[in-house]
C-alpha cells in the first residue's frame, strides 16, 4: 500500500474515532446524573459489599498462596505470580458469579418495580441510558479491583522508592497533569453548575493525557526520575493482567446487562448471565494439551482462564482475546440498546 494512502486512512480513522469519542463523551456528560445514581446505588446496596468481601477473601487466599511460593524453601516456586493467582480455577469459579450479581438489577429491577417507564421519560436517548448504567457498573467493577493493588508491592518484590529531584520538561508535564486531575476531582465534589462540571471533566481528561504522555517520556527519555520503585519482578505481567481483567470484566458485564434488559426477575437475569458466562470460563478448566491442534486453538479462543494462563498473566497481549472481549462487549451493548428500543414496537 502507498504510504500516503496509509496515512490518509489512519487520519480518517482517527477523525472518525475522535468524533465518536466526542459524541459519546457529550452523551455521557448528559447522563451524568444517571451514572452517579447507579454508582451510588451500589454503595448503599448490601449485595455490593458481599461481592466485595467474597472477592477479597478469594483473592487474599490466592495471594497468600502465591506469596508463600515466593518465600518458600526448596525447589518450589512461581515464575509468574500473576499466573499463579489469576489462572487458578478457584478464582474463576468465584469470578463467574461477580458480573451477574453486579448487573442483574440494572434493568430487571427497574422493569419489575415499574420505574423503567419513568426512566425512559428522562431526556436521554436509549443508548445514553444503556451506556450510563453500564459505565456505573464498570466503575464499580474497577473499584472492586482497586484493593487488590495492595498485593502488588509483595508480588513484585518492590523495595523502598527512590525519590530524586529530576526537574525536566517531561517530569513537570507529568506532575502538572497529575495536579490537574486532583483539581478536577476536587471540583466534582461540591454541587456546582454545568460549566464547572465541564471545566472539572476537562481538567481530568487533559490532566490525564498530560500525565500519561509526560510520564511515558520522563521515564523513557530522562536519565534520572522523580520517583523510582525498584522491583524484583518484571512489572509487565501485572499491567497486562489488570488490562486483561478490565477487558474480560467489561465483556461479562455487557453480557449481564443484556440479559438484565430482557427479563423482569433479577434472579433469573443472574442465572442466565451466569450460564452464558460459564461457556466462556469452564472450557478452560478442561486444560487441553497444548499440542497446537485445531481443538486446542478453538478451546483457547473461547476460554477466558486460558487467556490469562497463557498470555495476560505472563506479560503477553494476544490480539485474539482482546478482540473477542471488545467485540462481544460492543455487540452486547448494541443488543441492549436494541432490546430497550424494542419496547416501542412490540
Amino acid at each position: 500500500m502507498e504510504p500516503w494512502l496509509t496515512v490518509a486512512l489512519l487520519a480518517v480513522v482517527a477523525v472518525v474515532a475522535a468524533v465518536l469519542a466526542a459524541v459519546l463523551a457529550a452523551g455521557m456528560f448528559q447522563a451524568r446524573s444517571l451514572i452517579r445514581r447507579e454508582l451510588a446505588a451500589y454503595f448503599v446496596s448490601p449485595i455490593a459489599y458481599v461481592v466485595l468481601v467474597v472477592f477479597l477473601v478469594v483473592t487474599g487466599h490466592l495471594f497468600a498462596q502465591t506469596f508463600n511460593l515466593l518465600t518458600t524453601t526448596g525447589p518450589k516456586g512461581t515464575e509468574w505470580p500473576m499466573q499463579t493467582m489469576f489462572a487458578d480455577e478457584r478464582f474463576w469459579l468465584v469470578f463467574l458469579f461477580i458480573p451477574p450479581l453486579l448487573t442483574m438489577r440494572l434493568f430487571a429491577e427497574e422493569r419489575s418495580s415499574g420505574t423503567l417507564e419513568m426512566l425512559m421519560t428522562a431526556p436521554l436517548r436509549d443508548w445514553q441510558v444503556v451506556l450510563g448504567k453500564y459505565l456505573a457498573c464498570l466503575a464499580f467493577y474497577v473499584l472492586l479491583w482497586l484493593p487488590t493493588l495492595v498485593y502488588l508491592p509483595a508480588l513484585q518484590g518492590a523495595k523502598t522508592p527512590i525519590v530524586a529531584a529530576a526537574w525536566t520538561p517531561w517530569s513537570i508535564t507529568m506532575l502538572g497533569g497529575l495536579g490537574a486531575i486532583v483539581v478536577g476531582l476536587l471540583l466534582l465534589v461540591p454541587r456546582l453548575g454545568t460549566s464547572w462540571r465541564v471545566v472539572s471533566l476537562a481538567l481530568i481528561v487533559l490532566g490525564g493525557a498530560a500525565a500519561a504522555v509526560g510520564g511515558a517520556l520522563h521515564y523513557t527519555l530522562d536519565e534520572t526520575h522523580l520517583i523510582e520503585i525498584p522491583v524484583l519482578l518484571d512489572p509487565a505481567p501485572a499491567l497486562t493482567t489488570y488490562l486483561g481483567m478490565f477487558l474480560a470484566g467489561a465483556m461479562f458485564l455487557a453480557l449481564g446487562l443484556l440479559i438484565s434488559s430482557r427479563v423482569r426477575d433479577q434472579m433469573v437475569a443472574a442465572l442466565i448471565a451466569l450460564a452464558l458466562s460459564l461457556v466462556l470460563i469452564v472450557a478452560g478448566f478442561w486444560r487441553p494439551e497444548q499440542d497446537g491442534g485445531r481443538l486446542y486453538q478453538l478451546v483457547y479462543f473461547f476460554s477466558v482462564p486460558l487467556h490469562f494462563d497463557r498470555a495476560f498473566s505472563r506479560g503477553v497481549i494476544d490480539t485474539r482475546p482482546v478482540i473477542l472481549y471488545a467485540s462481544t462487549t460492543l455487540f452486547c451493548l448494541f443488543l441492549t440498546v436494541r432490546s430497550l428500543e424494542s419496547r416501542r414496537w412490540q
Binding site: Y49, L52, V57, F67, T73, G74, P75, F301, T319, W345
Partner: protein, 832 residues
Amino acid sequence: MKPADRASASDLRKPSLLWSRLHFVLRFLGLTGALACFAGLVLVEPRAWQDCLDALSAPPGTPVHVGGCLLAGGAAAVLLALLAEVVAVLRVAAGRRSAFGFNAVVQVALAAVLLAGVNWWSFGHSLRLDTTREGLFTLPAELRRQLGSLDRDSETTVVVYQRHKTFGALTDKPDRFDYAAERKVVEKVKDLVALLREVGPQLHVEVLDVEEEGYDDKLHELTAHAPELRKAIEGAAENSIFISNRGRKAPAKDSPEYVQQMSFNELYQLDKVQSQQDNGGRGNLVLLGQGADGRGVGPFVRRILNLEQRKPRVGVLVIHQLLTTRGEEASLTLAGLRKALTLHGFEVKDVVLKKGWDRGGFPEAAADTFEESRLEELEGELADLEDSVKELQTERKAVAAEVADLAPRPGEDQVKQLEELSKKYRAQLGGRKLTENLRAQVLALRQRELKLVDEELAARTKERDAKRHERDRLDVDRISEARRMTDVQSKLAYALADCDLLFVPRLTRMSEGDPILPRLYRLDRPQVDAIRDFLEAGKPLFACFGPINEAPNRRMPPGAPPAGPDALENLLGDLGIRMGRQTLLTAADSKAFSERRLNPLLGGTAVEVPPLDFSSDPEAIGGSWRATQVHLPPSPLREGLRVTARSVGKAFDVRLRFPRPVWYESPGGKRPAFDPVLLLSPVSWNEEQPFPSEQRRLRYTPPAPDDPNNGTPNARRRGQFPVGVAVEATLPASWGKAGAGKTVRVAAVGQGGLFVGGELPPPRERLLLQTVNWLLGRDDYLPRADEPWRYPRLALAPEDSEHRLWLWGTRLGLPVLFAYLGFVVLLFRRLR
C-alpha cells in the same frame, strides 16, 4: 382513522385460527423431525455424507436402515418447518408496524455477522505483543528470519518427546530437585514450541507424551513416512526433541531421511548444587539456560537449520577386532561408545591397526577396516571349520558303516553273520568272538556314537554356514581390493580421509584381570605419519592411553619391540602433551594389594577407587606440571563437565583405576588460551612400578632427596594429578609446511579403558559426548552456566513478622475492612 377501521387493521395483523394451528403443527413437526434426525445420526454413525445416503439402501430392519429412514424423514420435516418459518417471517415483515422490528432484526443479524466475522478473522490472524522485560515470548529476529527462510513447500517435523525422564537420566534415584526441574523444563520447552508454531507452515510441531492416551497411534501416524525418526524416538532414554525432514506427506522415492536429536538438557540444565545452596541455603530451583540467549532457543533452531548436515564421523583406531566398537567381549569392546555416539548424531568407523595375530609372535602393522579385519578372521575360522566338518563327515561315514554292519537284517543267518562280524572286527574285539549279546551292546554303543557325531556335525555345519553367510554379506570384492593396498600409510590415510575426529584408545591396564602388554600398541612410523597428516589437515584427536608400565618379571615373546612410549606418544609430545611414565595409585589400591597378598583367594574383588574431581580448580591444586604459572581462563570443556557434575550432584561419578598422569607443556613456553587440565585424579601417588610382589608392598613413600626426578613433573609425590588434558595445540614447524602454524584440538586421557564396555554409564557418556563435541569445534553444544534461571524469591522468611503481616493482612484484613464498611453503610441507612 375511524375506530372501526383500526379494529379491522388489528384483525388483519392477527393471524387466522387456521394459520395459527397450522403453524403450530408445522413447528411441532419440525421439532420432532430434529429429534428424529438426532436419533438417526446416532444409529447411522456416519463418517462422511455418503454414509447417510448409503444407510437408506442398507438391509431393511437393520439399525442402520432405521437410522437412515429417521434421518431422511426428520430432515424433510425440519425443512418443511423452516419453510413455514420463512413464510411467517415474511408475513410479519410485510406488516407496517412490524417494519421497525424487522429492521431491528436485520441490524442485529448484521451485528452478529460482524461479530463472528471479526473474531473469525482474528482467530486466523493473531498477533502476540510480548511486553516482558527480556522478550521471553519472542524469537530473536535473526533466528525468526532464518526459520522463515526454510523452504515453505517442504515440511520439517519437530517432535517434542516426553518420556518423563530428564534430569534423572544420570542417576537412578531422582530427587525433588530433579522432578521440579523436569516440570519446569517441560513447561519452558512447550513455550518454545509455541513460539516455533508461529513461524509458519514449514514447521510441523507435535508433542508426543508416552503417558498420553493413544500414544502408539500418534507415534505411528507421525512416523508413517519416517522410519529413522521412529527408531530414534524408540531409542531415546530421556525427554528429547527430534527434528526430521519428513513431513506428513509421503516423501519422494529415494529421498534421504535426516533426523536430529537433542535432549531437554541441551536447553536447560539443572544446577543441583546451586539449587541446594541458593536463597541463603534455603533452596531454590536453579536451571542453567543453554545457548547464547540462555533459553536454549539458539541450539534448538540451529538443529532445525542444520538438519541435513552430514553427520560427523569418528574414526576409532584399535589394534584388535575385539577392541573395536563391534567387538563382542564385554571387557574389551567399545560397543557402548558406538551406541552413545550414533544415538547422538555421529557415525563411527573402526580401523584395526594390527594383523597377523594368529601367526604367533607380535602382530604386524595394518590399517584394516573392521570388515577387512573381520574377513581375515572369518577366513581363518572358516578354514578351521571346513577341516572340522570334513573330519566329522569321514568319522560319520565310518561309524555309520559299522552300525550298518552290526544291525541285524531280517531273515539273516545269525550264526554265520556273527562269525563274519567276528572276523571283520577281530582287531576291535581283541580276538574275542562276537556273541549276540555283545553285538547288541556294540551296536547300541555305535548308534549312540553316530548320534553324537551327527549332532557335532550339524553344529559345526551350522556354524560354518553362519560364518559363510557373514562372509557373503561382506563386500568381499571391495575388501579384497583394499587388501591389495600394501602401503600402510596410504591405506590408513585413505581410511581416515572421511573421518572428522580420531579416537585412539589404548587399553593396557584394566581395573581387574591381566593387563594387555603396552608394547603391543606400538605403531609403526608409516601409521604415525598418517595420523600426523590427519592432524595437519586441522582435524582433532582424542587419545586415551593407559599406563605403559610392565611387570618386571613378564616374559616377552621373541621379536618383542622395546618398551616405553611409541612414536604416537612422541607425536603428542610435539604438541606439548606429556603422557606420564608412571601409574597413579590410591589408598584403595594399596589396601586391595595388601588384602590380596594376605588372602590370595580374594583376587578379583572389585576395588572402589575415589571418583575424579570435577569441582576443584586445577590452578588451585598447583604442581610442577602446570602449563604456566600465570592465571589462565578455565577450560571450556572442563567447565561444561563441571556444569554437568553440578547438575547431577554426587551421582556424576567417573572412577578411573590405574590412570597415568597427563600434563601439558606449552611448546616454546607459549601461553595457552585456557587451562589445559581436563580431568583431575583424586588424591593418589605416582608409581614407577605399580605391580606388587611378595617382597614389595605398594604404598606411598616420599622420594629420596637425591631422586633425579625431583623438581620435574615426574617427581614422586602424593596429591591430585591431571589425568586428562584438552588443548588447542599449534602444530610445530618441524612437522613440515603443510600444517605449520595451524591449530588443532587435542584431548588426551591417561586411561585406555575409560569408554570400554557394552553400555556406557551415563556420566562417561556425557564425558565422551562433551569431549567429542568440543574437539569438533561445537562449543555451543557444551553445557554453560552463564545464564542461570531461578524462581524469584522475596527477601522474607516465613518466620519473619512482616511475612505474617502480609499473609493475615491480605487474607483477613482487607475483607474485614470492607465488611466493616458495609455494616456502617447498613447502619447509616437505618438511621432516621
